[in-house]
Every structure is written in structure tokens, then in C-alpha cells.
Amino acid sequence: MNLTLHVWRQKGPQAKGKLETYQAKNVSPDQSFLEMLDEVNDDLIKSGKDPIAFDHDCREGICGMCSQVINGRPHGHEERTTVCQLHMRQFNDGDEIFVEPWRAKAFPIQKDLIVDRSSLDAIMQSGGYTSCHTGGVPDGNTFPIPKPVADYAMDAAECIGCGACIAACPNSSAMLYTSAKVAQLAALPQGKPEARKRVKAMTEALLAEGFGNCTNHYECEAACPKGISVKFIAKLNREYLKSMMPSSLGE
């Protein structure tokens, strides 16, 4: 099939960008979206033009590197799918496809479709961990964790940190991303000791990094390639309320 692509091209962080139009010819339905872009790039190189820069790595939907908004939807229109797992059989001959980078103040564009997501790392660094030392921890079975709790934590932990939730959010809020980690650790006995501190620190970091506030649009959940539920945001809110209650230690 043949497709018309409108791709965001931007030389560098300060440069002005615009949409450029390209033709993708003889696209096979078995190709992934990124493989289709590879081919477009090969054509560009052969005609002496600068190929489209886009982030990608594992190409099996787990590393969270790929990050394109396709026809207005982060990772494209197929549900629970990253761009690298989006296959061209989901498109029709003659389709016009708009490809844009994640857009948010906290994600400055570096080139074409590549954005800087170090703000997500900064949120993790503010408290997305348990402060255990290497070594000197008890046996893994010391604290039994009921299966439903382990499953709940795992549901939250599936986040791949791609940033689609932010790209989809009308407020560019990173609340789903933040809440997934807060909820995972708050549910587990290992994460509970620092739960109060964590939820405060991580939500503060969220604002400091320039993300917006959550106003319950739930676009994040709809865009998430891993189907992370907004129930974790409710959990974060709950954890936050808990953290405001005076503790028995008088903190």
C-alpha cells in the first residue's frame, strides 16, 4: 500500500519546526510502523536528504523508547500498543498519517520526533524507590504478600515510562506515571515505611519538572500502551491524604 506521511521536522531544540510531507510506497502490511519509517529514511538518505530522527530501541514494546504521536494519538490508534508494535495492517492504502513528537513543556524537542524525557527520571529520583541497601535485607519470603496485592503492585509496575500519558494529557500532567510507582510501592510491605515521604516528594517533583496538574480527564489511561489504570491516581490521592494526617510519631 501507499501512504502519505506528514512528519514533524525540527533541526534542533531552538530551531523552528514544521510538518513535511513524504510518500511511503509499497508498504507491506506485515511491517511495523517503525520499519515503514526506516524505509522512508532509506529513501531520504539515497536522495541526499536528512533522515527523520526518532527514538526507538527494543522494538518489542517494553523499553519505552519509541514515542510518536500518530494522527493525534500517542503510539497510534491501536489500543495497548507501542509504536514499535503497531503494524501497518492497521492502516489502509492511501491513508494520510500525521506523525508528531510528544508535546509538553517538560519534554523539550531535541530533534524531529525525539524529545528529552529526563524529567521522568527526575521524578523517580525524588522518591521512586525503597531505601534498602545492597545486601543486608531479609529473605524474600519473610513478609508474605498476598497474591491480589502482588498482582495489584505488578499492574502498576508494568509502566514502561514512555510518557504517552503526558503526551495525551490536555494538561501535560505526569500523574499516571507518578501514581503507578507510588501505588506499586505503597501496596507492598517493603514500600510502606517510606510511603508518606514518597508521595509528597514525587508529587512535588512532578510540578518542579514543569508537568501540569491532573484534572481527571483520564486521557492518560486511554493512551497508555500498558493499560495502566487511573485507579492508581486515586490511590496516590489517598496516599497523599494519608500523608497529611498526623502520624503517631507526631511528624
Partner: protein, 223 residues
Amino acid sequence: MNLFTSTVGRKILMAVTGLMLVGFITVHLLGNLSIFWGADAINAYAKHLHDLGPLVWIFRLVMLCLFAIHITFGVQLYLENKAANPEPYAVQKTLVTTFSAKTMVFTGLIILAFLIYHLLHFTVQVTNPDISAHNLPLVDGHLDVFTMVVMSFQKVFIAIIYLIAMVALFLHLSHGVSSWVQTLGWSTGPSQDKVTALGKLVAIVYGLAYIAIPLFILAHIVK
């Protein structure tokens, strides 16, 4: 304090003040609906309120604070969110969010504008002095609120202002009510849809009930 600066803290403030304001409009609505029981009912209600004296002022002060918090943070959050999302996509698509969620700040501001008008209209009574209760003959020694209301809403222009405001209220509530459940952390995922549906239902009930008053008067059903 964290509550006034943090992203979740302010969200909780919005939810709690929002909830209390819903409480207010509930009481207000119940009082207003007395108009359907005739002139005596609503006039008695008005007198009753009046007789509360200083309590009314305390109540007004609380309401002022609630509104101030709700509006200040609402606007502040809106401006922050806009700043966080400076550039639009060429193809802009949303999947699950609603018109009402996207227009919260605007419907909120419409309600604010209306509130000011509403106070000038029925409380201070300066917008239409000819039909203000102060200028109408007393009934049994009390102000004739009923006649003031009926005569007001018989003016199409005023009725339309109220209609628009009530549509804004409906939109505001239809996102606000369900949002509140999520914000206070009471939703647990699968129930999300039910909560959203319930929120809409509440909004419809309030919207219809409020709109009924000008509408029934305009249609000369209440006269």
C-alpha cells in the same frame, strides 16, 4: 502549607470546596423549589432566611471563602496546565475526556459572572429596580419575593441569562461530581464508569431542577 502549593493538595482543595458548594446549591435549590408550592411558601422561606440575622452573614462569609478558594485555585491550576502544554498537535484528538471536563474553567467563570449578576439581581436588587421586592407592595408585612421572581423571569432576557447559567452549572457539575470521588481517592478502578455515570445523573438532576424555575415561569405555568 503543602495543601495550598502541591499539585494533589490543591486538587483536594478543589474537590472539598467543590463538594461544599454542591452542598450549598442543594440547600439553595430546595429553598427555591418552594416557589412551586406558591407565593406563600417562597415568601415564608425568604422571611425565614432574613430572620436568621447575623447567621446569614456568617454563612455568607463562609460561602465567600469557599468560592474564593475554589475560583482562585481553579484559575491558577488552569493557567499552570496551559503553561505545561504550550504547543498543540496538528491533529488534536481526545478519546475519553468530555466537553465538560475540558471547559471547567470557562463554565466556572460563567457561573461566577452569573453569581455576581444573580446577587445584584435578587439580593442587592439593583439591576431591575422597577420589579425589586423593595419597590413592590409588602405582603402581610413581608417582602414579596414571589412576585419579584415571577416578574423577573417573565422577562425573556433575564430568563435566558438564567438558562445559560444553569447549562454552565450542569456542565460544571457533570465533571465535578465524579471527579471528586477520584480526587479523594475513593474510586478503585472498575467502578470508574459507574462513578462517572452517577456524576452525570446528579448534574442532570440539579440542572433540570434549577432550570425548571425560570422555564415554568416563562411558560406561565407558575404565575
